[in-house]
Subunit: 262 residues, 3 copies
C-alpha cells in the first residue's frame, strides 16, 4: 500500500493554490501516496477534452493506480461523485460523463461515493476537488476497500464521444478532438478503422487545406510540410513538420474534418 | 523525519531551469524530503498575490510541513531571510511581508536565518531561492532544529493586507484580491463579516457591472449568469457560470469593489 | 537504488497527456524512482534552449541522477538514442546535439541505446519519450548497468554553441541565449571571461538600447532601471528592475549583442 499512485487531471490550472491544496489534502491522509499530474490545463469545464486526456494516459500507468479527474461544471449540484474500477485501475470523478472513454475501453463497475468517512467534514459548494475527490482518493490509497465507499450504480452518465459518420461510399465526416502543444490536430478517425489510407489515394479536408499525403514519420518530411500521420494515440493526426498545423489550417478543437478515399 | 514535506510558492515560472534547480538542491541535502508545488506562477514580484496564495494553501497541509515562499524583489539587498513557525507549520521566506497573511491567521515566532551551515557556500546576488531558501528548507527537513538557524526577531516586516473600509452606514469599499484561473474575482470581503448579504438585498459594483444576486452554488445558475458566491477561500467572489467574470466586468486584481446592503 | 532520481527536460508542454504518460511509464518499471521536472516548456524543437536549460540545472542535482532530455525534431528517423555519463551523472537523450553544453562542461562517455530489453515492445514513430527515453531511464534507475544499454560511440553529434567573437581590440559580438521568465536577457558572454567590465567603462548594445551600467544586485537599482548584471548562470545578463528587459529592448533569443570596453 505504501506507494500507491494517484494521478490528477483537472481544469484548475497551475497559477492558483488549487492544485497545491489537493496535494496537501492527500498528504494529510495518505502520507505515503505518490501523486503524478497528468494535466491541470484542461480547458475550463471541457468534459470531452478531459475524457480524451485521461483515456490517453491511464493505460501507461501501473495497475491499481488511482486516477482523479476533476472537471466539474456541476459542482454544488446533486451530481454524484463516483468511484469506478476499470482495467485494473481506479477512477474517481464527478458523474458527468468525463469517464466515458475509459468506459468505452474496458469493462467496469461504478459506485457512488457516499460514505462521509472518506470526505472532508465540511464540504464547500465550489471546491469538491479539495473536499470530496482528493480525500476519497487518499483514503483509497491508504487501503479503504472500494465497497466501503458506497453502493454500485448502473445509471451513471456516459456521453457519446463523437465518431466519424459515413457521408458516402468512401467518404466520412469527423472532427478534431484536440489540438496538442505542437499544433497537431488529433482527429476522431481511429487509424485501424481507416487503414485504407495506407494503400489508397485520399483527401483529408480541414479548415483551409486539402491534404493528400500520409507520412510514416516526421523525419521523412521537410520543415513546413503538411501531412497526415498516425499519432501516438492511434488516431489520424494532421501535422506539420516543425510548424503548427492548427495555425496553417486555422482550425481548433471541434472543427469538422472530411475524409475521402479514392 | 524521513518523509518531511516541503512546499514551494514562487514567481519563477515553469519555463526556466529555476524550479528544477530548487528541487535538485533539496534532493542533494535531504534525499527523503518530498516536494509539492503550490504555485510558481505568482506574478513577478507580486507580494500580495504570493501572500494570498500561501495563506489559502497552508492550512490544508499536514503539521510540520515546511513552506518555502520566494517572491523576492529585494534579492541581493540587506533584507533578511527568515524562518517562521506558525500553526504548527514552518515558513521560510524573505523578510519582505510575504508571510503577513500567515501571521494574521496564527500565533507565530520568527527567526532570522543566519547560520551559514544551512546555506550554500557561495551565495549569488540574484538567486537566493537556490542558495539560501531551498538549502535552509532541506536542512530543516533533515532534522536541524529551528533554534539553530538564527536568533529570534520581532522587527520582521508585515504588510497591511487591504480590507474593506466603511463608506456609509451600510456601504463599504473593498478590492479584488485575485483573479483565479476561471476568471472568478476574489474580493477582500470575508463572507462571515458580511453575512448580511444572505438575508438582505444588496448591490455589488465592480468594473462595468452591478450585481444583485447571491448564488449558493454554480449549479443553480445558468451559463453566462453573473453572481456573487461564497468562494472556497471564504471570501465573496464575483463569478459567472461557465464564463469569466473578469472578462465580463473588465476587471483585474487591485480593482475597486463597492458593496451596499439595503 | 531505491530512491534514484530522474529529471525530465522536454518541449512537451504541460497541457497534454504527454508528461503524465512519461511518468506512468517510469512508475510501471521503477516504482521507487523519483521524478523531478526541470522544464517541459522548451520552445518546440529548440535544441539550443534545451541544451542551455539542462546545462544550467544538472550541476545542482546529486551524483548519479538520471537526466532525460526529449527535444527531438528527428523522432522516427535513424537518429540514435544515447546514454551519456558525465560528471558522475547520467543523461538520456536523442543524439542530436542537445547534450553539447554538458559535453563542454565535463569529461564524458557516450553509448548508443540499442538493447531492446530496456525499451517498450512497440515503438511508435512519433513518441519516443514514452517508448524509448522514459523506459531506458527507468531501467537504469532500477539498476541496469550502463554497459548493458549498448556499445560506446565516439561519433555522437555536438553542436557548436555560439560564443562571442572578437570584433575589434576591445569589442565583441555575441548573442542572447535565452529570455527568462522575468524578461532578463541571458547573453553568451561568460562573466569570468569578460571581467573587464567590472573595472572599465563599457557599452553593451542590444535591440534599441545602449547600456553602460553594471549592477551587483537588483536591490541597488531603482524600478525601471536597465543594467548589466552577472546572472545566476555565470553569464552577463541584461536586466531591468521589476520590469522586462526583453520588452524594453524589443529583443528575444538569438538577437545579437555587442560589447565594447573602453
Amino acid at each position: 500500500m505504501a506507494n500507491r499512485l494517484i494521478t490528477f487531471t483537472t481544469d484548475f490550472g497551475l497559477s492558483d493554490h488549487f492544485v497545491g491544496v489537493l496535494k496537501g489534502v492527500v498528504a494529510g491522509i495518505a502520507a505515503a501516496a505518490r501523486v503524478i499530474d497528468i494535466s491541470h490545463d484542461v480547458a475550463p469545464y471541457n468534459l470531452t477534452e478531459a475524457a480524451f486526456i485521461i483515456a490517453e494516459a491511464w493505460p501507461y500507468f501501473p495497475k491499481r493506480t488511482i486516477h482523479v479527474i476533476v472537471v466539474d461544471p456541476g459542482v454544488g449540484s446533486a451530481r454524484r461523485p463516483i468511484l469506478a474500477e476499470a482495467g485494473g485501475h481506479f477512477f474517481i470523478a464527478p458523474d458527468n460523463g468525463v469517464l466515458s472513454m475509459v468506459f468505452d475501453a474496458a469493462p467496469h463497475k461504478v459506485r457512488v461515493i457516499s460514505n462521509p468517512r472518506f470526505l472532508r467534514r465540511d464540504i464547500s459548494r465550489t471546491f469538491h476537488g479539495r473536499d470530496v475527490f482528493a480525500p476519497a482518493a487518499a483514503h483509497l490509497a491508504k487501503g479503504a476497500q472500494p465497497a466501503a465507499f458506497g453502493k454500485r450504480i448502473d445509471d451513471y452518465i456516459r456521453i457519446e464521444m463523437t465518431r466519424p459518420s459515413r457521408a458516402g461510399k468512401d467518404a466520412w465526416g469527423g472532427a478534431i478532438l484536440k489540438v496538442d502543444r505542437f499544433g497537431n490536430l488529433i482527429t476522431n478517425f481511429a487509424a485501424h478503422e481507416f487503414a485504407g489510407i495506407n494503400s489508397r489515394p485520399f483527401e483529408m479536408r480541414a479548415g483551409t487545406q486539402r491534404i493528400h499525403r500520409l507520412a510514416l514519420t516526421y523525419a521523412e518530411t521537410e520543415a513546413g510540410d503538411l501531412f497526415v500521420i498516425v499519432g501516438s494515440s492511434g488516431h489520424l493526426e494532421i501535422a506539420a513538420n516543425q510548424a503548427s498545423a492548427a495555425g496553417l489550417l486555422g482550425c481548433s478543437a471541434g472543427a469538422p474534418v472530411e475524409l475521402d478515399l479514392y
